[in-house]
Symmetry: D2
Subunit: 379 residues, 4 copies
């Protein structure tokens, strides 16, 4: 194994949960070493945090521009190779752009950009850069999600006829039901959060899960949002009718007021021969349904799983791996790409997933605001 | 307890599954005695079947008209009091009509009629008759469904914001994928089966479950059907966006090509304070979700259940009761009504449920054929 | 189908749960007609109950002896053919004995007798009688239990190495923790309830489930009881080590103080090639485990099930059948035997199961009281 | 947060699963830095592995004795502070002993020693040393296991009456059924593996889980092993009757021939007021049962959990954490102890757990070999 990849973190300092998730994911599999970054906008806190996580402070920079400037002065074999962009949403695009333009690989949190237009711009820059860009649609890193994808590709379901995905959470309940809070949180302010709350934040994961596992593209959609209160202007719930290939239809349901649901991403895919059902909160149990055979429960680490699935499992069957391991699998795929090793394109979500995601979100908003009309997605 | 109610069966002979279901449901609780009927159109088979189930043949009639004619000659205290209408769909309306017009109580299989217009006519006749009319939306007989209804009425969820119901089956797969079969089965022939296959047969159960449990009415809907093949003209799958009260939205999903699903009726209801999840195939487990408290699993027969729920449980907790018991609970409610005893209106589905069901089905067809437009349901 | 079998009930009147269970089970499948019996010791209540369940009062007798005397006067083709014995435990033996001696078939509740000695006597009388004797170990009527038995017989598990069954309930908690109650209830009084409470009442079901499904015999056992309080002399909890064939071992766990458990009968059977897991409270889900293949979930009514299993399912897959249906399957088997039709010996539990059960209970008591020593069961 | 703790690994090189588990666990929470060790007995592989995981090779030693010798030459503030002992079982004792004697803290894999005698010796040395000794009974690190412990301590179950734990695996099947393999693997060779296979390896986890969660001590036990073949001398399956406090009894079941089971550790604890059920393969779902209230499902990260439980959860509810996180929680507890910070004694398993474990294993062997007699454990 070659030396560890030099990783920089932009954001993710302090008690940031996304910071913890990425940091641990980078440790697992021994591929990355955090050598610097800009953990927060507060320089003192920045340095303090570097001490906490035992990163030498000499490459902890006071802001993003300084980071770029100083790192570019270093010889290439010392320079940070890849940056994880964990900043607030509106910063993803400008930062990822500048990083790619300066020759850094990028691991970027979702949403990739605030608009589809930006996404296309970033896509062009990425193509020109020749660098690795990984988007952390974390849930596609689960071994059983990858197993679904592989078995579908191998024909286990036959022709697919229906897809049904949801992402249900209840977390926004205390916010939305309080008039003051719903008027003030950034999530429900289009100026700060962009055009969509629920679809942008979680609906897009359900959308990505469908395209990732089935290999099909959503061609058009029709959305209906629920704002819950007249004085709220951001979607906190919605249902989306989707059409994929000819005679392939489906539905995406997303909600942040699904009381009691925690991180309820789930997918069901029905084909001519068989079907899959999977739920994120029980990620190690994949159900394969048939009209004529007993339902089968696939679990990680078994010899019957595909190579792609097995690559994402570290321990023998029965040792539950979770969300950190799922993210770690995406970091693992990115590491292979960064090192120029051979890898399966399914090992990490890409720029193209990011563009699709923005396309999806904008289309749902256009559909809802247009009076629940069908909106085509890009080819 | 008074003497048993004299029950006649119209249809349901031979190996008819619906016949078995209704017969057993009528036995349970000791309220009914089958004293005659017209079990099938074949008179010989009719008599033979009467022998099999030990019903005296003297009141087994050669056809429905004879049934009416002969029974009306009997003194009222010997005459059949209630008829279960278990015939093919298109006969439900004329038979139920004639029965009500002649003063019989009616227990009717679903769909109540072929059209909303017929439903309204039947409703008027029913009102004039003063007789009991029970529609066998079987699944509302489950104790935990009734528990949901009661707890929602008592405010356990607070204001409801989202409802999500599905009914998934895979049974039509072998039919739909075979060009010859899909061109010939009555289910996919609008002349014989009416305007809808999937929505009429099972979507309507999901719709009924929503209105039964929440006490809310669906005000408008937008449907998208899937026919799967260009040469198929009946829906075998569909997704329906629904709107209930102001800021209450939801979705109904129905499919007969959901491979491997058996009788997959399920409902999730999300309110401001809590939520319910329930699945028909595990009918004795009701999940109550909260953002702040542990999920609770309600089970039948416990003292914490409502009176309505407990009335539908015969044995102590842990003794699984199933679909026959659910149907029996509907027969039990109808028996109370027939006898003029006091009962809870929630104890059996009524004419109004039937009208709503037809309204729903016609609206989904109108929406889909109109280009996925919003269609209002009747007030 | 021949005419219905004339059934008499001994016990089971009023709100008796066991009465409801047997009555409904006898209705399902259209094989039996209740024509008389002795429902309770109170003659007035007896007659009243007959009216309630619409049984002609002319064959409702004031006591068991009168029942025998009067029925024997009737010509054989009018006489009650089979009696269900639903009386308190200590009456099972004398009543079953007299019934068999007088040429009646018997369906008998568990425990069959109070002692192994009585069981042997009854066995001898039964052999001489040539009559049908069915013991209602209800749980062996479930279609998935029968599927286990058939698949094991067909070698699906290979050689069995370990069996593990439990029956956990919490119902005795409020009784046992109250000094007055535990000193007074008949269940905890050896004079009235016999030598064992927990093992006799429920442990024996777990034992029967093992022998029924595996086809193996328990050869010896070692038991340890828990009485919970010094002033309690009846077992309310116990664990039993068991040995079956050479190198086949296992454990039976039974408890009536397993707080929150309702009717928690469960079995796991581990063989060289595969294993089964099944739980009574989710009776329609049978899990087949393998070291190398995905776990399979078998469900009732599918073509992949055995004939014996399918014979016990009335509706298509996905329509949950429950405890009444399980008991009905035992009544169905007994009906075939009574009519001299061909049937599978696995269709109802027999005298031999009853003898084994008493042998088991006496052995557990002997083991515990002997200081947790190994006790052999009869060959 | 102070600087990272200097960690040395003894064993765990190459593809060692236990190595991966400990390494990742040490990364999570940012407390440890691996600065050296002896990863394998092959010095070349040792150095190569150090490169792979990016550990400077100057503190990678050729063997354990050299490790001690060289590290002791370093000033205390550079010296490795704690060693994880991941070597084959028979080396745990001599290595842990020498480490403690030389003033290192120790994190030790299970079994702590080969005999109870050794365990006592180690205990004495440990006491004298004043150093931290953590035994990696990994499963006690799960947040819901800790929640059980805390709620039991707070009286949620009332007086406990029954405990029931199992650890079922199927992994030894292919070995045990092959005469050549079972004669040759080290696991089934008492010379190499010690006196017990199944009880020592996994039964002891079930035992530890009981004592950890209930706070009770097993006072005596009676075991019955299954060897499966006459030519096999090591237990591969066994059932153990246990007695705890007065009138508190239970059972431990362990098997390595439980076909299809993967890592099937589970526990049920029944008290006067309520009960807990938990399974390792679904570690984030804790069931609390009651006779009178709905079953409750506790999940990690919620405000209703105890401080001890919450300390072991890094992300909001619904983000599944798994076995690495469980082990990480033990490393976290050890880190607090090593740094002299305040911590809850329940945060990591100790020397005392190790002594108890050896006591348990030896007692089961003595019981089985003594003819299934009761053996007392030490006070």
């Amino acid at each position: 194994m070659p030396k560890k990849i030099r990783l920089g973190l932009i954001g993710g300092g302090g008690d940031s949960l996304i910071g913890i998730l990425h940091r641990i994911a980078s440790f697992i599999n021994d591929n990355y070493q955090i050598v610097g970054g800009v953990f927060s906008i507060d320089y003192e806190g920045n340095l303090e945090f570097a001490n906490e996580i035992d990163v030498p402070t000499d490459r902890v920079y006071k802001d993003f521009d300084t980071f770029i400037e100083e790192e570019m002065k270093l010889p290439e074999d010392q320079r940070i190779q890849v940056c994880s962009v964990l900043t607030p949403n509106f910063l993803h695009y400008p930062m990822a752009r500048k990083l790619l333009e300066n020759g850094f690989h990028v691991i970027c949190e979702k949403p990739m950009t605030m608009t589809l237009e930006e996404a296309h711009e970033l896509q062009a820059i990425h193509r020109a850069s020749g660098k690795v860009f990984a988007l952390t649609h974390t849930y596609t890193g689960y071994p059983m999600v990858r197993q679904m994808k592989e078995m579908i590709k191998a024909g286990a379901l036959g022709k697919i006829h229906k897809v049904d995905a949801r992402y249900y959470q209840g977390w926004i309940n205390p916010v939305i039901h309080d008039p003051e809070q719903r008027a003030s949180v950034w999530r429900l302010d289009p100026e700060k959060a962009g055009i969509s709350c629920c679809m942008g934040d979680i609906g897009t994961h359900a959308f990505n899960m469908i395209e990732y596992t089935t290999g099909l593209k959503v061609k058009s959609l029709l959305a209906d949002f629920n704002y819950l209160y007249d004085d709220n202007v951001m979607d906190v719930d919605g249902n989306v009718l989707i059409r994929l290939d000819s005679h392939v239809k489906g539905v995406i349901r997303a909600s942040q007021v699904a009381t009691g649901e925690e991180n309820g991403l789930a997918i069901a895919i029905y084909g001519e021969k068989a079907a899959f059902r999977w739920e994120q909160e029980k990620p190690n149990f994949l159900y394969k349904l048939s009209d004529t055979e007993p339902t089968q429960i696939y679990k990680p680490g078994h010899g019957y799983n595909s190579e792609l699935s097995l690559a994402g499992t570290k321990l023998p069957p029965g040792h539950p791996e979770g969300i950190f391991d799922s993210m770690a699998n995406i970091y693992l795929g990115a590491a292979k790409a960064i090192r120029g090793q051979s890898y399966d394109p399914a090992e990490y979500p890409t720029m193209e997933d990011g563009v699709r995601g923005l396309n999806f979100v904008e289309a749902t908003v256009a559909s809802h605001k247009g009076g629940n009309v069908w909106i085509d997605l890009e080819d």
